[in-house]
């Protein structure tokens, strides 16, 4: 529960919402910014967990034939490392930014469904515990992060381990789906007058695409997990080979979800650096339209390439060829992004605060991961790469070198908006360089160990296989990453207290969120700004930069209806009540509904333990609690 205790500490330095302090206010909040902060803290906590898991993995692999951890523990470690990093770290960190930024960037007072938003968070927070806690009892999931059948089924994983995984992912899916419907609606419907789609900040654009990936990809894994759950709990035959079940069904369903999922992980980071780069280059984003379209393109193509994870299963030459070429195609829209970012910087006036370093780091490192991705996409060659450390190298370059770098960039960039204070740049610089070197030291050698024959997911390997040096390097690099992580944590907590005051707009950034105080008051915008171009804050502060841009006014009706005013900086801090802005009430009900869900799911575990009456009590009790809370929620007024 480190999350809930850590959370209050993050209360903004000068709280803009009177009476909004204490644990209770955090449990009941429906403010998108506070929910964003909750996401941020929780996900950072899990980053620590996932990072420590990685450190243990690497320690075990430092030398051949070590026995730092047992085989069984190792298998739980890598399963939980992958699951944690994907579902409990990168997705929620992205969600933290969705929550905090989208309403601010589009000029809204909150998201479309504030209580649903709180619900998403609590389902995530509780679901995260559900899937993480078992590791302390040695019964953590151990089937790998993609849980291939039949190994994940009842015949070969009889214990509770995979129950936690199946049910845990279902829970997390609920959270992601609820959030996605919320953000889709928010982005479509709550933009300030004049904020056309093609004027949305690039982060909002990428988030928009991601929400569609979520609503289309998650139902598929939901179905796949239901099948597995039914197999495990009710004796159905979906993946039961003795009844003729086909293990490839799981694989196809999983990767129909799994590949879009990797773009769910990367696109928000792409969005963040698309905010950071223009700001610190003092130049607009190069090829804005193409940047938006390429994001859509990546998302769309992402649904047609899943089987590139299955080139070794023997799909036959036709399918192999089709999926191979579709996969290669994705390099094009992604390449456009890389080139456009560089072009954004080209000819600019570059400044290099930590956020910029990380953003550039993303460009440099993601490219490496992207290229090795394209190398995977050629099946005859992939046959030598798949399930080796070469793949591990690929996905850490895109995930750590891409997604995490982008997220760090975003954290440094938006920390002043969130807390009102700047992070320390010297420490930031240290963190960046340790990260940069550590990441290359950790993951670059994996290309070699992989191509030199080292399979992934092995808890030990024999001496004399030609892998010793590379593994040692990887482990050394990991320790550097741990140090970098500690520096980050220190910087983060310290800067919250003693960082230099930021003011509204410390970076000279172009978008709406910088027009309001840091941290923003609970109502965000005292008056909804009217947007006349893509870079409203530059319109205001350095109009020469946006002179070449198309400017136009929103129609009068919309302006009047929204009580919108021309773009301006808001500096005064008043309460919502003083301004007469209706704010949603705090409420515990979303938390209660989430709790009901968790109790029901826990009942399934108890059922597996054979305690039928208790299980029924939990499921029926949890269900009743859920329905009751939901009824109370739906029938109580929002504001």
């Amino acid at each position: 529960m480190a999350t809930t205790t850590a959370a209050p500490a993050s209360a903004p330095v000068h709280d803009a919402s009177p009476g909004q302090t204490g644990l209770w206010s955090w449990v009941t909040t429906v403010d998108h910014k506070r929910i964003g902060v909750l996401y941020l803290y929780t996900a950072l906590f899990y980053l620590l967990v996932g990072g420590l898991e990685a450190a243990l993995i690497r320690t075990q692999l430092a030398r051949p034939n070590l026995s730092v951890v047992s085989a069984e523990t190792y298998n739980q470690l890598f399963t939980m490392h992958g699951t944690t990093m994907v579902f409990l770290v990168v997705m929620p960190l992205s969600a933290a930014f969705f929550n905090y930024l989208i309403p601010l960037q589009i000029g809204a007072r909150d998201v479309a469904f504030p209580r649903l938003n709180a619900f998403s968070y609590w389902v995530y927070a509780l679901g995260g515990l559900f899937i993480t806690l078992p590791i302390f009892f040695g019964v953590a999931p151990n089937g790998g992060w993609f849980g291939y059948a039949p190994l994940s089924g009842p015949t070969y994983s009889g214990g509770f381990n995979m129950d936690f995984w199946v049910l845990g992912l279902q829970i997390l899916g609920i959270s992601s789906l609820a959030a996605a419907f919320n953000f889709i609606t928010t982005i479509i419907n709550l933009r300030a007058p004049g904020m056309t789609l093609m004027r949305m900040p690039m982060f909002t654009w990428m988030s928009f695409v991601v929400q569609f990936l979520v609503i289309l990809a998650f139902p598929v894994i939901t179905a796949a997990l239901f099948f597995l759950q039914f197999d495990r709990f009710f004796g159905t035959n979906f993946y039961q080979v003795q009844a003729g079940g086909d293990p490839l069904l799981w694989q196809h369903l999983f990767w129909v979800f799994g590949h879009p999922e990797v773009y769910i992980l990367i696109l928000p980071a792409f969005g963040l650096v698309s905010e950071v780069l223009p700001t610190h280059s003092r130049k607009p984003l190069f090829g804005y339209n193409v940047m938006a379209y390429s994001g859509i393109m990546i998302g769309f193509l992402g649904f047609g390439v899943w089987a590139h994870h299955m080139f070794a299963v023997g799909m036959g030459p036709v399918a192999d060829s089709i999926f191979s070429m579709a996969t290669m195609l994705i390099g094009l829209p992604t390449g456009v992004k890389i080139f456009n970012w560089i072009a954004t910087m080209y000819g600019g006036s570059l400044r290099f605060p930590t956020s910029m370093k990380f953003a550039i780091g993303l460009i440099a490192m993601f490219t490496i991961g992207g290229i090795s991705g394209v190398m995977h996409s050629s099946p005859p060659s992939n046959m030598q790469q798949t399930d080796t450390y070469f793949v591990v190298a690929h996905f850490h370059y895109v995930l750590y070198g891409g997604a995490m770098m982008g997220i760090f960039s975003g954290i440094y960039h938006y920390f002043p908006k969130i807390t009102g204070r700047l992070m320390n740049e010297t420490l930031g610089s240290w963190q960046f360089w340790l990260n940069f070197i550590g990441l290359n030291l950790t993951f670059f050698p994996m290309h070699f160990s992989g191509m030199l024959g080292m399979p992934r997911r092995i808890y030990t390997y024999d001496a004399g296989q030609g892998w010793d040096l590379f593994n040692l390097m990887s482990t050394a690099g990991t320790y550097m990453l741990v140090v970098a992580g500690l520096i980050f944590a220190f910087n983060f907590f310290r800067s919250r207290k003693v960082g230099a005051l930021a003011g509204n707009d410390p970076w000279g950034a172009p978008t709406l969120e910088w027009s309001i105080p840091s941290p923003p008051p609970d109502y965000n915008f005292a008056q909804i700004p009217e947007v006349t171009s893509r870079y409203p804050m530059w319109d205001l502060k350095s109009p020469e930069r946006t002179a070449g841009l198309e400017h136009s006014h929103a129609d009068a009706a919309a302006i009047t209806e929204a009580h919108a005013v021309p773009i301006h900086e808001e500096t005064e801090r008043r309460t919502a009540a003083e301004l007469g802005i209706p704010m949603p009430f705090n409420t515990i009900k979303p938390f209660m509904v989430a709790l009901g869900i968790i109790v029901m799911f826990s009942g399934m575990i108890v059922l597996h333990a054979g305690k039928f009456p208790l299980a029924m009590a939990m499921m029926i009790g949890g269900g009743a609690f859920l329905v009751g809370s939901l009824y109370a929620w739906l029938t109580s007024p929002l504001e």
């Binding site: 479309a112 469904f113 209580r115 649903l116 789906l177 996605a180 419907f181 919320n182 889709i184 609606t185 479509i188 419907n189 709550l190 933009r191 300030a192 007058p193 904020m195 609503i215 289309l216 990809a217 998650f218 139902p219 598929v220 939901t222 179905a223 796949a224 239901f226 099948f227 039914f230 009710f234 004796g235 159905t236 035959n237 979906f238 009844a243 003729g244 079940g245 086909d246 069904l249 369903l253 129909v256 909804i528 919309a558 209806e561 929204a562 009580h563 009540a577 007469g580 209706p582 704010m583 739906l634 029938t635 109580s636 007024p637 929002l638 504001e639």
Partner: protein, 224 residues
Amino acid sequence: MASAPATASGAHEAHEHTHYTTTGLDNRKIAIWAFIGSECMLFASLISTYLVYKGRSLVGPLPHEAWTSPAGQVFKPILNMPVTTASTFVLLMSSLTMVLALAAVENKGKPGYEGLLGSSKTWLLATALLGAAFLGFQAYEFTSFVHEGLTIRTNLFGTSFFTLTGFHGTHVAVGVLWLMSLLFIDLKRGLGPKDAIIVDISALYWHFVDVVWIAIFTLVYLIK
């Protein structure tokens, strides 16, 4: 303004006093369409699974073919067309009553909507009842299958069939509950044009569930 009284009006996120929205559309309607889009993928996965496993069961009973077990027991083809045709018809008609319910709510008090056509209560009730009838047919179908030797564990057909139709049935059941709560509100305070949105989104959901059944009926029942 900040403390508008509770209106106890069903699925209410956004509230009475209308906020500005970019498109002028209601948030909830956008959300329900996004949700329906998402459901397309869910049902595509379920239907794909059923089709992929079609003809792969190692033992009977089977949907369209007779099957003799090694022990000599004979199983008839299991699908019962007359019953399913009836239930399909019921569900299709429930869509008709649903649009009538929506029209009644939208046009309450308008000329031409005075009599039966304007009675939202009748149509909501009719829709819920038709939905319940569909569920009744399904319950009958499931129990008779079990009696004939097909359970969710028997073979791949049983597994994927019960799961697919079960998921659909669950959707119908949720829809029936939703309709009943609308009916409840209608009885309590009457639904009028300003409530059209909450009826509209439930109607969209309801029709979508119907549309899914149209696909299932063809792919599962009609095509051998």
